[in-house]
C-alpha cells in the first residue's frame, strides 16, 4: 500500500468497531482526510492521546480502499486549554463543524487550514468563559471563511445595482440595508426596494467591515458593543448557511447552553 505524510488538524472522531476510530482532519495542503486509527481506543495503543480533537499532528498514512490507515502520529500542538473551558470547546467545535460540512475530500484550500489554525490558537488563548472574545473569533472565522472560499459579501458596492457605497462607512445614524440573497450591502435607492433585508446600524456595519479588514490581533483589542456583535454574528451565520448550504445552527445550541 502506498504511504504518504500529512500535517493536519483533527476535526472529528467517530468510534469504529471494538477499538478503532475514524478520524476526520484538515491538512495543511487544504484537503479533508478521513482515516482509520486501528486500536486507538485501547489504553495501550501508541495513538492514545495523539489523535484527540483539535490536535495539530504529523501523520504517516497508508492509502486504503475507502479510508486511509494511520500508521504513525506525532503531536505538534494540542491546544491543551480548549477542553479546560466548555465555552472554548463549543466555539472550536462550531468552527470544525463549518469545515466538515462545507469541504469535501478532493477540495483544496490551504488558506482555510491557516485560518483554522489561527482561530483554534486564538480560542486556546482566550480567558475562561470570555464569551464576547469567543464570539469575535467565530465572527472573524466566518468572515474569513467566506473570503477564502470566494463567497465574501459585497461591502464596498451595492450588491443589487453595483453602485459604490463608499460613503456608507462615514454615515451618522442612518441604517444600512444588507441583503443575504443579493450577497451584500444595499445603496439608499435599492434598500427600500429589496424585501428581505437586514437593517444594520452604523456600529454593526463598521464591525462587519472590520471583520474583513483587520487582523485577529487587532480585532481582539477593539471594543465592540454586545448588540452589534450578536447582530453581525447572526448575519454572518445566516449568510454562510444561505450561500454554502451547510446547516450550522450554532445560535440554537448557544441558546441551549445559556449564552
Amino acid at each position: 500500500m502506498p504511504t504518504y505524510k500529512a500535517r493536519a488538524i483533527i476535526l472529528k472522531n467517530y468510534k469504529l468497531g471494538e477499538a478503532d476510530r475514524i478520524v476526520k482532519m484538515y491538512s495543511d495542503e487544504g484537503h479533508l482526510i478521513s482515516a482509520v486509527a486501528k486500536g486507538c481506543r485501547k489504553t495501550r495503543s501508541r495513538f492514545r492521546g495523539r489523535l484527540e480533537l483539535f490536535c495539530l499532528v504529523d501523520l504517516e498514512l497508508s492509502e486504503g480502499r475507502n479510508l486511509d490507515i494511520i500508521g504513525q502520529a506525532e503531536i505538534l500542538n494540542c491546544f491543551s486549554d480548549i477542553p479546560m473551558d466548555f465555552y472554548r470547546f463549543v466555539f472550536a467545535e462550531i468552527i470544525s463543524n463549518v469545515i466538515l460540512r462545507t469541504q469535501q475530500s478532493g477540495d483544496k484550500n490551504p488558506s482555510l487550514f491557516k485560518l483554522l489554525y489561527v482561530c483554534l490558537n486564538e480560542i486556546d488563548k482566550t480567558e475562561p468563559e470570555d464569551v464576547i472574545g469567543l464570539k469575535k473569533i467565530l465572527c472573524f472565522f466566518e468572515a474569513r471563511f467566506l473570503q477564502v472560499t470566494g463567497l465574501a459579501p459585497m461591502l464596498e458596492t451595492c450588491s443589487r445595482c453595483n453602485k459604490s457605497t463608499a460613503d456608507l462607512y462615514r454615515l451618522g445614524n442612518e441604517k444600512i440595508g444588507f441583503s443575504i440573497d443579493y450577497g451584500g450591502v444595499l445603496c439608499r435607492e435599492c434598500s427600500p426596494a429589496t424585501g428581505a433585508r437586514v437593517e444594520l446600524n452604523p456600529s454593526s456595519y463598521r464591525l462587519l467591515v472590520d471583520l474583513f479588514r483587520l487582523k485577529i490581533e487587532d480585532l481582539r483589542s477593539i471594543e465592540i458593543d454586545p448588540y452589534s456583535l450578536r447582530k453581525v454574528c447572526r448575519l454572518m451565520e445566516d449568510y454562510m448557511v444561505f450561500h454554502t448550504y451547510c446547516t450550522v445552527n450554532s445560535f440554537k445550541y448557544l441558546k441551549k447552553i445559556g449564552i
Binding site: G17, T43, R44, G49, E52, F54, S80, N249
Partner: protein, 199 residues
Amino acid sequence: MPLYIKSVEKLINEFRKLPSIGPKSARRIVYYLLKQTPEQVNNFARSLIEMKEKVRFCRLCRNISEGDICHICGDTSRDHKKVCVVEDVGDVVLIEKTGRYRGVYHVLRGLLSPIEDIGPEELGIPLLMERVRKEKVDEVIIALNPTVEGESTAMFIKKMLSPLGVRTTMLASGLPVGGDLEYADEITIGRAITDRREI
C-alpha cells in the same frame, strides 16, 4: 434468482443492523439459529422481547432498570452522598467491577456536542443538580473519558455544580499500569507529572 428465501433474508438484514455485525457474521448467526431446536430459538426471541419490554431508565440516575429506580439507587447500604457521573450504562459495570466504589451513579448517556446538538437537557444535567440539592450530596466524581469531549463535558458539569457548593472530583489520569514511558504521549506524561502523588 434470489440468494436466500424471504424469511432468512429478512433475519440476516435485521442482524446486519447490529453494531460490529457485517453481512458474513449476520449470515453465520442465522445459519446457527437454523440449526437450533425450536425451543432454543423461542427462548432467544423471548429474551429479546422481554428485555425490551421490561428495561427502562431509572428516574433518579438514568441507569437501566426493571423498576422505577435501579438496583443501585434502591440499595440503602450504598453511600448516597457520593455520585459518580459516567458517560454510558456500560461504564457503571466497569466501575462496579473494581469493587472500590460504593456510592451511586448518574448516567449521562452521551456527551455534550454542538455538532450533534446534544445539550445539558439531553444528558439529564438538571436531574443531577436536583439530586445533589435534594439529597445533600457531598461529592460528585466525574468519571468521563479523558478525551476533549469528555473533559469539556466535565468542565460544564463542574461549572453547573459550583453554586451548590458540592465537592467535584475527576478520575486521575496518567500512565497505565504496565505501560512504558517511552510510548506515552506528551499529554499523558504531562498529566502524570501534574497529578503526581506522594509515596
